[in-house]
Symmetry: C2
Subunit: 417 residues, 2 copies
């Protein structure tokens, strides 16, 4: 490990913030346009370099799903260019006057959105994150330090070089993007000590990485932690809606954080709902695991243990619990949930409102799939992750969540009495 | 130390959050009314118990200024009652719809303000903080765990008992306020590990306490760190305003965080401004320490060393630096400042706007005293401190900064395609 290089990269990104924060949006947009061109023109090189990562991954005997994540083919390169285009079209939130008022003594107070400073991004495998993270930071006038995983190191390095080139071509200090090529945990640990240079850390990856970062960071962390999400089918649920929503929330994309892991069902509707539900799940190849009461209705499934209710399967497995009432459903969710996305299916107005109020999660749904928790879907244009923090940013993290604010106060000689 | 008791108190406050968060504002207000009455009726007892703390402090040979901070006399008890009254009159921010929109698929998204959970407050000496912190947490529907300093332990204990009594009288779980009577640092350290129960920590006290809490906390910290504030007198300053504002910012209350510690003066105005300024400062008994250029103008003052520009004097001492231009002033502030409150005196429009944009601080002033940085003055009604964080809350921390948000999403069967 080369600590001096890590320090140097972070220090330079920190120093570049002052000038980047003064850059106007047009210049950022033309930089992003340059980046689009550079990526398009370097397709061949990108694919060649990416091939190296793929070969190394095969030598390392990585699972084929992991190798697939590393791959950059023409379609994925198009996707990267598309996402740059999306960010170009977004308006930077920097400069927005959040609110303003005048004091009796004549002082004008404005609360104005400003960039945070230097954002550290620690991510694993997928090389497109290099571009996604960098451009969101640029658009919000933050400098960034990127540290990707070892599997995609060659692709990441090339992409970050192209970003630096686009910055340089547009007269922006290329240190505004720092890239750390130390890919071991020691390097990350070192980076996490540099709170004099890095204002906030965004880890993107598995539970292991998130835990490591949270434990070792000396600066605030915007965590994208696990999604242990629930769907509760209330006594008064419309069964069609319940079937369609629960199917969507579990099956449409089971490996993502906003898919459900546990289904809760009111006991008065379980006898009718569960057999129909099981039929759907069987067709989709979903393994069900049920509580004792569930086993009384669905005979041929495994029992769900305490551990099941604590597990984010990220797979075609679902645990089921029959509950006495809404209170028990809310209690279960607030105990086992990861405060990410939670849904109720109900036609009862009071129950809907109570669920919305009492469930402690970033996104709470009535009669809709948890799968909608997403910066793009919410209209943020792009997201850097979904925060499971309660403070600063909660839920989808877009450009706005990458800003803070300052108070600008204009007077004409006011002093405090 | 009794770790079980600390765990128990924090756990109970955490458990009390669910029901407190559902409490309506009227009930909170009647609790605060009860508290006013209880404090008023127990004046004699409060003063007697407080006398114990004062006696202990004298035995411990505390400085008289510290002993004065501990004192609860009738005037200060009136002040506590007054501050409860202020909080009663404030509207809780909980429930405020920050924004809302409808997606094309018909989903209604509302971003709604909600309490954070359990707030830990770690504070020193002044016993009124027990009431101030507790009532701000109550009004924002957060439960809290209070841990005051050993000097005021008897007064703090009695005041927290009265708060618990007011809660009980109004049918609110009295565990909503936890009080920790372990007053050593080990107890604090233990509390800082309990991130499963405490969602955020607010330290209030000296640099030592803040540093200790930041280093050891496993949950987010809303820091009220030091205020190393500057006033820059620009070339084009109106000298009358410059004199009056700099006098106010230094002298009106030198021991607080929003008073200035360093004066920066443009070299083209220093010859005229500094001698007049010194006359004012001499009258106020302020010791001046100047850079080399300053010493060329004010002959009989001490030299300001590098260390001076890094020092929050909190006293009638001021360092002075003559700078070449606005850029140098901004550079000095962004290097030495604590990102708290910074001011420029200028009649030049561009310089004013550049200062507002480029100085990295929570509150940036043009032609006004830094002393205005205060939740009360800003119109927040009350404050729990002034945050020097960049994330979550920046500047004065009032009720609103003690909340987070959730997304409430209402649908009628939407699934993700």
């Amino acid at each position: 490990m080369n600590p001096e290089k890590i320090i140097e990269t972070c220090k330079k990104a920190h120093e570049a913030f002052f000038s980047l924060s003064k850059t106007n949006e047009d210049k950022i947009n033309s930089t992003l346009e340059s980046l689009k061109l550079l990526i398009d023109r370097n397709r061949k090189k990108i694919k060649e370099i990416n091939e190296k990562d793929i070969e190394n991954a095969k030598v390392m005997n990585l699972k084929s799903s992991l190798i697939d994540r590393l791959l950059l083919n023409d379609k994925r390169i198009d996707g990267i260019i598309q996402s740059i285009d999306t960010v170009i079209k977004l308006k930077t939130p920097v400069g927005e006057v959040i609110e303003g008022w005048k004091l009796e003594n004549g002082l004008n107070i404005e609360k104005v959105r400003v960039p945070i400073g230097t954002v550290g991004i620690i991510y694993e495998s997928r090389p497109n994150v290099t571009v996604d993270a960098a451009i969101l930071c640029l658009k919000s006038l933050n400098t960034s330090v990127l540290r990707g995983g070892k599997e995609a190191i060659n692709s990441n390095k090339l992409l970050s070089d192209l970003i630096k080139k686009a910055l340089h071509e547009n007269g922006i200090n290329s240190d505004s993007i720092g890239f750390i090529d130390e890919t071991n945990r020691e390097g990350v640990k070192y980076m996490l000590k540099l709170n004099q240079y890095i204002d906030v850390i965004v880890p993107r990856g598995g539970e292991g990485l998130i835990g490591f970062v949270s434990e070792n960071a000396t600066m605030p962390v915007i965590k994208h932690d696990k999604g242990l999400c629930h769907l509760y089918v209330d006594e008064s649920a419309d069964l069609e809606k319940a079937l369609s929503i629960s199917y969507n929330a579990k099956v449409q994309r089971p490996g993502v954080c906003n898919a459900i892991e546990t289904l809760l069902v009111h006991e008065n509707i379980a006898n009718v709902f569960l057999p129909e539900f099981k039929e759907l799940m069987d067709k989709a190849g979903v393994e069900l695991r049920g509580c004792k009461k569930t086993l009384g209705i669905l005979k041929d499934i495994k029992e769900a243990k305490e551990e099941d209710f604590n597990t984010e399967y990220l797979d075609l497995i679902l645990s089921i619990k029959v509950v006495e009432n809404l209170d028990k459903a809310i209690e279960h969710i607030n105990t086992y949930g990861s405060h990410h996305s939670e849904a109720i299916v109900t036609e009862n107005y009071d129950n809907a409102e109570r669920f919305l109020d009492e469930v402690d999660a970033s996104c709470v749904y009535v009669n809709a799939s948890t799968r909608f928790t997403d910066g793009g879907v919410f209209g943020f244009g792009a997201e850097i992750g979904i925060s499971t923090n309660k403070l600063h940013a909660r839920g989808p993290v877009g450009l706005r969540e990458l800003t803070t604010y300052k108070y600008k106060i204009r007077g004409n000689g006011q002093i405090r009495r």
